[in-house]
Structure formats: structure tokens, C-alpha cells
Amino acid sequence: MGFTNSIIQKQAINEILKCNDLTEHYGLILTHSQAIELFETRSYALNANGRIEFGGGIIDKFIKIFCDSPYLYMQNYAGTLHELIEIFYFYKNETLDLISDDDLIKFMKSCFDGSCQGSLELLAARELSKMARNLRYGYAFDYNEDKLDVAKEEE
């Protein structure tokens, strides 16, 4: 089984490194050792959140979607990806798997670039927490009670 794991790891790391072709236009590059660390973070996050994943995982999806963010630059690129991966698996559980991988990553991106202005703390503690609560209570994931109140007051 160790043999299989190492093949899967090599494949995943190659896929991460392949993303450099796309991200170098934005001045973002991952080294081989950084790719390995990202893979390890994914394994750690999966384990910590009691999840199991088949296939390459979501690292390359994160890279492809987040590479054009104005808040990412070479110095914080790898660190942000580590944090995003951990946050992602935590909120997969918190949302009771009610949201797909792609939708969750897109939502994270829009909040990261928008209301959070690049803050991972705001993303995790405010936006994603609110979104998870909405899903658990049966609302749309972008439902906003405050906006509704303001709209009612204006009327």
C-alpha cells in the first residue's frame, strides 16, 4: 500500500507543479518542496477533520482559482494556500457536505477578494461561519439577514 501512496503523492505533486505554468503570469511560483508541504498539509487537514479523499484533491483547484487574487503575492502565496486548505476541509464538515467543492472554493475566493480584503481570519470566522450556518438552517449559502433588514427599513 505504501507503493500506491507514493505514486498518488507523486502524481498530486506533479499536478501542483504543473499549475506553475498558469500562475507564473501572476508572479506566483511554487517550489517542489513547497508542493510537498502543501500535499502534507492536505493529508493533515483531512486527518484532523476526519475525512478521506480519493483522487488528486483540491490543491490544484485552489491554485487555479486563487492565482488572480490581488491579495496574493510571492511572499504569502504558499502560506495562504496552507491556510485555505485547512479552512476548506473544516468547513466541508461544518456545512454537512451540503455544498460542492467547486462552489465552496468559489465562495471562498469571492469573499477573500471582496468583503475580507485578503484576511483569512475574516474569511474563516465571519463569512464561512455565516455561510455554514445558512446551509445548516436551510437557507441559500449567500443568504444575508442584515441586508434584508436594511432593505425592509428603506421600504
Binding site: I52, E53, F54, G57, D97, S100, D101
Partner: protein, 453 residues
């Protein structure tokens, strides 16, 4: 040459019915029927199948899944494959299938088996509904009808084929071991079907009275009805009366105890075995499957009887049938109330009296029904002492009738009742507690059979 038997490498007894595939691999490895390569191939196949099923489960939306869900899907896959492998006559053939067929193909074949077993179980349930015992036992009705319906509604052969989702609370006489999923429900319904079939040889009234003898509230108990009927029928055969009567008196139980207590366990088992054959003959049981089921249940009955003889509790095994006539209830009427105007004047008069003796006089002379008496106790603002003394005017049945209408429930009274009602309840309770034990027993007996109109 008549006793030629094939020597099998795998001992069937070492195979676990619940985790068949896992135990088969273990045994096959022990007997060198599977190589390391074969095992690795099987493991790969199982992981590939799991990955595919997880993708289907997530609807292609998500690559990851919670570990407990993945474990559940894995168990379901292994159970489905096991169901196919169990269909082979010999475990060696199943091992060959494991070697020569891919896991996903084995899974597909297993799924067909699950589906056919599910269809058979649905048919069996229809038969059970048809020959269902007409009893008021709650567990029986809720499990055999509603519970099994719930199973068909919730059963998910794709992702939790091994799970029955219901609890099947009603116990069968012959316990089902090491079976899960649709296999368990099929076996359970088979057992219930045979038990119903056996009970249908006896009249429903006799079964009802027998169970009343077991416990007055048998409807609320989790007991196996067939076991009681079968045991009682065996008892009837042992004492030499018709099994259909299901009647064993306490004298006959005493005689049986004297007779059996001098025998060894083995001798008792033989006696019961013979009684079972006589019972089948008397009831003209022709069905081979029912006969087999009775034979399978016999050790349970024998062991109960042997244990009861050892601890001198045979009367708890051979239940004395309940006589319904003893249980006749009687209705009690509180009588007609006086008109409102007269009642109002009466209460005013009572409240204006200074002495208890005057109040008692007014009550004696003016109140002629228990309903007015009850209203007076509540409305005339009497003290506890006065109520206790006024209650002395009533006889035992009237006190019991009042208690029936105002039961003493210290926990709920404070929330649900008014102050005067709480005081009356408490006074009634105190009044009875102050009486003799004989009076208290009489009240208890009357409360059991009184019915307030």
C-alpha cells in the same frame, strides 16, 4: 463407501456470517489458497470500488467524504460481495471466484443477490401480514407491521446494504445471530411466519387469556407470544390434557414439578422432545418447515424448564391461564347534581357555619349525590381537618370513586391543578393512609375494577 465426504481445506465453522468476506479471506490465507498478490489485488479492488461509490455518493460534486460515511460504504460493499460469495456451495468455490473475478464484477453480482433477497423479503412480509396474530401486544404489532414497512422504506442497498435501520424490538423465540441487512430481516420474517403459523392452531381467546395469566399488562410487554403458547402447549401434553386448551392449573404445575424434579436435565430434555412429537401429532402439523422451526426452538423451552425446576419456579414457565370472569369491572355513577340556585344557597350556608358539626348536619340533610358532595368539598373552602372529618361520612366504594377521579400525583398536581383540587387529593390520600391495612387493600382492589361513568 457410503460415507465418502469431501475433505475441505476451509472449515465452514470458522466463517463469520456477518463478516463473510473478511473471514473467508482470513481462512483462505491460512489454508494457503490465497497468495499475497491475490490479497493485494482484492484490497486494490475494494479501494477502487470505494472510490467509485464515494463519487456516486457525493454526486461528483466533492472528492472528499467523512471517514464514518466512507467506512459505512465500505461495509456495505463488503456485505454485498459477501452475499454473492455465500451463494457458492463450498467456500473454496467462493475463493476461486475472488481470484478470477474483479471486485467490481463481484459487487454487481452481489447486488443482484441483494435485490432478489429484498424481493423475497417483501413477499414474505405479505405472507406474515396475512397470517398475523390478532393480538393487542404493542411491540408485536409495531414491529411486524410498521417496523418492517419502515425497513423497506429506509433500506438503502447502494450505500448501507448491511444496515436495517430499524430495531426489530419484538423478539423471536429462536434468536437470529450473526446476520445483518436484508438477510436478517428475511430470517426474522421467516421466524415470525412460523410462529404465527403455530399460534394459528389455537383460539385467539385462549392465547389472550394465557398471556393475561403471564401479566395483566402483557400488551405493553416485550415478550415472545409463540414461546408462551408453545411452552403451555408442551405443559398440557406433559400433564395429559389437550394442548388446544392451553390450560395448566397450579395443582398440575405442582404435580409436574414433583415428577420432573427427580429427573436429570438429559431426561427432562428427552421428555420434552417426546411431548413435542405428541404435540405435533395432536395438532396435525404437516408442514416440514414448521416442524423444523419447532425443533429448533425446543432447546430454548427445555432450558427454561430445566432452569425453572432447579430454582423451583415452574409456575412462572407453565402459566396458569387467566380467568376473565374474575376481572369483571363495575360502573359507578356519581348521581344527579342539584340545581344551581339550591347548590349556591347550600354552599353559602356551609361557609357561614362556625362549627364543623353544623356543617356535617347540613351536608347529611341536603346532599344526596356524590357529584354534589364532590363539588361541595371543592367549593366550600373547608380546612384540611374539616375535609378529613367530612370524608368519614362516605363508605369504602364512595371513597374509592373519589380517589379514582382525584388520584394523588404529587409531582404533577402543582402545575396542572387548582389549589382546592390539590387539597382534596392530598386529604383523600392522607385519609386512606390513616385507615387500617384491610381498608387500604379494599380500596386498592376497588380501584382496579371500578369504572366511573
Amino acid at each position: 463407501m457410503e460415507n465418502i465426504e469431501r475433505i475441505n481445506a476451509i472449515n465452514k465453522r470458522n466463517l463469520n456470517e456477518e463478516f463473510y468476506l473478511q473471514s473467508l479471506i482470513e481462512e483462505a490465507t491460512r489454508c494457503n489458497l490465497l497468495s499475497d498478490n491475490d490479497i493485494e489485488k482484492i484490497q486494490f479492488g475494494c479501494l477502487e470500488l470505494l472510490a467509485y461509490k464515494v463519487k456516486c455518493y457525493n454526486g461528483l460534486d466533492s472528492d472528499s467524504i467523512r471517514v464514518e460515511f466512507a467506512e459505512n460504504i465500505m461495509k456495505s460493499n463488503l456485505y454485498t460481495i459477501s452475499l454473492y460469495l455465500k451463494s457458492f456451495l463450498l467456500p473454496e468455490y467462493a475463493v476461486e471466484a475472488l481470484q478470477n473475478t474483479t471486485i467490481s464484477d463481484l459487487y454487481d453480482l452481489g447486488k443482484r443477490h441483494v435485490q432478489s433477497k429484498l424481493n423475497a423479503t417483501k413477499h414474505l412480509h405479505l405472507l406474515v401480514v396475512k397470517n398475523k396474530l390478532n393480538t393487542e401486544n404493542y411491540t408485536y404489532n409495531s414491529t411486524v407491521i410498521d417496523g418492517i414497512k419502515g425497513f423497506f422504506k429506509l433500506y438503502d442497498p447502494d450505500y448501507s446494504a448491511h444496515d436495517i435501520h430499524i430495531t426489530a424490538d419484538y423478539p423471536t423465540c429462536y434468536p437470529i445471530k450473526n446476520l445483518v441487512g436484508v438477510e436478517f430481516i428475511k430470517k426474522y420474517l421467516e421466524n415470525i411466519y412460523y410462529e404465527n403459523q403455530f399460534c394459528s392452531y389455537f383460539s385467539l381467546d385462549k392465547i389472550h387469556n394465557l398471556l393475561l395469566g403471564y401479566h395483566k399488562e402483557y400488551c405493553a410487554l416485550v415478550i415472545n407470544i409463540f414461546e408462551q403458547v408453545f411452552t403451555s402447549a408442551i405443559g398440557c401434553i406433559l400433564i395429559g390434557v389437550s394442548a388446544k386448551t392451553l390450560t395448566v392449573s397450579s395443582n398440575q404445575v405442582d404435580k409436574l414439578y414433583i415428577e420432573l424434579s427427580s429427573k436429570t436435565d438429559q431426561q427432562i430434555i428427552e421428555i420434552i422432545h417426546k411431548a413435542n412429537l405428541l404435540l405435533q401429532k395432536e395438532l396435525s402439523i404437516k408442514s416440514k418447515t414448521l416442524q423444523t422451526y419447532l425443533d429448533k426452538c425446543l432447546p430454548v423451552i427445555s432450558s427454561n424448564i430445566c432452569n425453572a425446576i432447579k430454582i423451583n419456579t415452574l409456575d412462572k414457565i407453565f402459566i396458569t391461564r387467566h380467568n376473565t370472569e374474575i376481572d369483571a369491572t363495575f360502573s359507578f355513577s356519581f348521581g344527579v347534581k342539584m340545581d344551581n340556585e339550591t347548590y349556591r344557597n347550600l354552599i353559602d350556608n356551609i361557609m357561614q357555619c362556625r362549627f364543623l358539626s353544623d356543617k356535617i348536619d347540613i351536608i347529611k340533610n341536603n346532599i344526596h349525590s356524590l357529584s354534589d358532595f364532590e363539588d361541595m368539598l371543592l367549593d366550600s373552602e373547608l380546612t384540611k381537618f374539616e375535609i378529613m372529618n367530612i370524608l368519614k361520612l362516605l363508605n369504602t366504594v364512595e371513597i374509592a370513586a373519589l380517589i379514582k377521579r382525584h388520584p394523588y400525583q404529587p409531582d404533577t398536581d402543582a402545575l396542572e391543578l387548582k389549589d382546592n383540587e390539590i387539597m382534596l387529593n392530598s386529604c383523600l390520600n392522607n385519609y386512606v393512609n390513616l385507615q387500617t391495612l384491610f381498608f387500604q387493600n379494599q380500596i386498592a382492589k376497588i380501584l382496579c375494577c371500578i369504572d366511573i361513568e
